[in-house]
């Protein structure tokens, strides 16, 4: 979800810029717009986050706002497609992205929605290096970073002991190449060509090793499978293409 770095030095108060960010936010948040695949994926991945966090923090998964008193860092937040719903569930949310314009779009949309989210355009390593967060999410972002181990380690440093981290990404299988790159980029045109580089995809076992190296305990894994007939996603044991994985930090 983390867009290519596209820095602007223009002051954020510039009127044209604000109009542009509003338009960008509108396009991110249009359910039939360019981010349609992420909107379709959202109910499934947020369902997983919610159930995993509810079980881990011993909260009521059926409540509308179960996560009061907990804070969460969303890394690679884009325009806030995950940060906003997670904030509605009661988490106090901080969210970061490398792209200034994503953050400006996210801020503009959160204001519209009346949500309080601490958005910042910064890389993870620039955040204070202290165990600050009860929960951290890295969704559809691991496959875009140059060094997965270093990236996960930076995130893990900011997780409180007893906290939980959840990542979602693409597996490095031929099936993932066929579906996520050839299918989604070239055939269905869901995503711009070049969105993904198969060589950067991470297998679930590699991700678990990365977690362990960062001092985390791998916990749970689930695949996300698209059903073209129902035009929707569901959780599955099949982690061949899209999958989610959770890990906890020992007390």
């Amino acid at each position: 979800m983390q867009a290519k770095s596209d820095h602007h030095d223009a002051p954020l108060a510039d009127k044209d810029e604000i109009a542009r960010f509003n338009a960008l936010a509108a396009s991110w948040w249009d359910p039939n717009g360019p981010m349609k695949p992420l909107h379709r994926l959202n109910p499934v991945r947020i369902g997983f986050l919610k159930d995993a966090f509810a079980a881990h923090f011993d909260r009521d998964g059926k409540a509308m706002q179960p996560f009061g008193g907990l804070n969460l860092l969303d890394i690679g937040c884009g325009a806030g497609l995950v940060a906003e719903p997670i904030a509605r569930l009661g988490f106090s949310v901080s969210a970061i992205d490398l792209a200034e314009e994503n953050i400006a779009a996210a801020k503009s949309h959160a204001t519209l929605e009346g949500l309080t989210i601490d958005y910042r355009a910064t890389p993870i390593e620039k955040l204070p290096e202290a165990p600050t967060y009860d929960a951290i999410t890295l969704l559809e972002v691991v496959e875009h970073v140059p060094d997965v181990s270093a990236f996960v380690a930076e995130a893990a440093k900011r997780l409180k002991p007893g906290g939980m981290l959840i990542a979602s990404t693409l597996n490095r299988t031929m099936k993932a190449y066929a579906l996520a790159i050839f299918g989604a980029e070239y055939v269905l045109r869901w995503l711009p060509v070049g969105t993904h580089d198969w060589n950067k995809f991470v297998t679930p076992d590699e991700l678990d090793h990365t977690f362990a190296d960062a001092g985390l305990l791998p916990k749970e894994r689930a695949g996300m499978v698209f059903n073209p007939l129902a035009n929707s996603w569901r959780l599955s044991g099949d982690c061949d293409v899209n999958y989610l994985a959770s890990a906890t930090k020992p007390d």
Binding site: P31, H39, N42, K50, M64
Partner: protein, 410 residues
Amino acid sequence: MANGGTDRTIIIGGFGAAGASLALALVRGGVEPGAITVFDANPDSDQAPDKPDARILALNAGSRRYLEALGAWEKLADQAYPMRSIAISDTGLEEGIRPRLLDMEPEAEGGPLAHLVALGRLNHVLRGLCRDAGIEVLKGRYSGRTASSTAIEVRIDAETRRARLLVGADGARSAIRTMAGIPMHGWPYGQTAIVATIRHSLPHHGEGAQHFLPSGPFALLPLDEYRSSIVWSERAEKAAEMLAASPAERKRAISARAAGWRGDILEVEAVSSHPLQLALARRFVGERIALVADAAHVVHPLAGQGLNLGFEDCAMLAELVVERLRAGLDPGMPDLLETYQARRRPAAAAMGYAMEGMNRLFSNDSGPLRVMRDAGVGLVNRMPGLKQRLMKAASGQTGLSPRLFRGEAL
């Protein structure tokens, strides 16, 4: 409140049994009552529950479980009459004896086939529960909407309200459906249902009866021991004649059709008539709009399925919306609406066409056709598997039925 609150708002147009039940189902699922608004041009027109009310519904087991979950059943149970079996016959009017063609009885643990409940009382109970729950009920007429990718602005009289989702529960002539430009496909049957309550000299023992007469089906549905509700479908001209007839003539005509199944007919009360139609909305959803119950489909009331289908729509929509809200997500997104439509429209279409087909098959006096349908129904009777499946469908227990219809919590 900074995070949460008005961004979960749902507006329901129509405060009948379907709209009121949906509002309650959402609240039972954990939606704050303050996030729900129901509007209706006549929100206070509850019928006094003890007045004779011939508008009787046959609620199936799924509807009963749904109403139990809403806390409505306990307030209805003392005036919900169980129908334990139904006998079906197929004869010409002149034939005094109506042999049984098909008997439907539920499995031992399944409870009654249906419960007969007066619509006025059902509305009264559901509306009362909504008010008790603190759900806002506005008096006003729908005058249009503007939908965007994040919200829908709903105009009620001169007022504009913002919501995530607008639900059209505003009946067969739904303004919400019409203004969304969603066409209704259907045709009138040329038949009218005459509905009345009769008192009879013999007890019914909880048995219903459906006589398929050439001009249309005639159903006797058991109320308290010596009273039954009748639903008598007739050609429109004949029905008009009956409504204009004297009470004595009416009684004679009804006695001829009941053919002695309940002894003598002592009294006929609360007679009303309803033109029959079959109609199905081309889409059950629009941009940030979902249609439920009669706003989406009108089916022949042959098996009292109309409101059962409507309640099932509401139970399904409530389930999908609550699931979304529990994930902090927008309940008006197109993928949710597509799922709702995919789960409910085929069910309504199938029920509509099945009822229509059955009615056409039976509302006919052609000799060969009668032999064929008698053989057909006899066959169903001798194939328990098939009959059970038919009955399961009629009682709302199919694979994709919503949780509240299966007796599970949201």
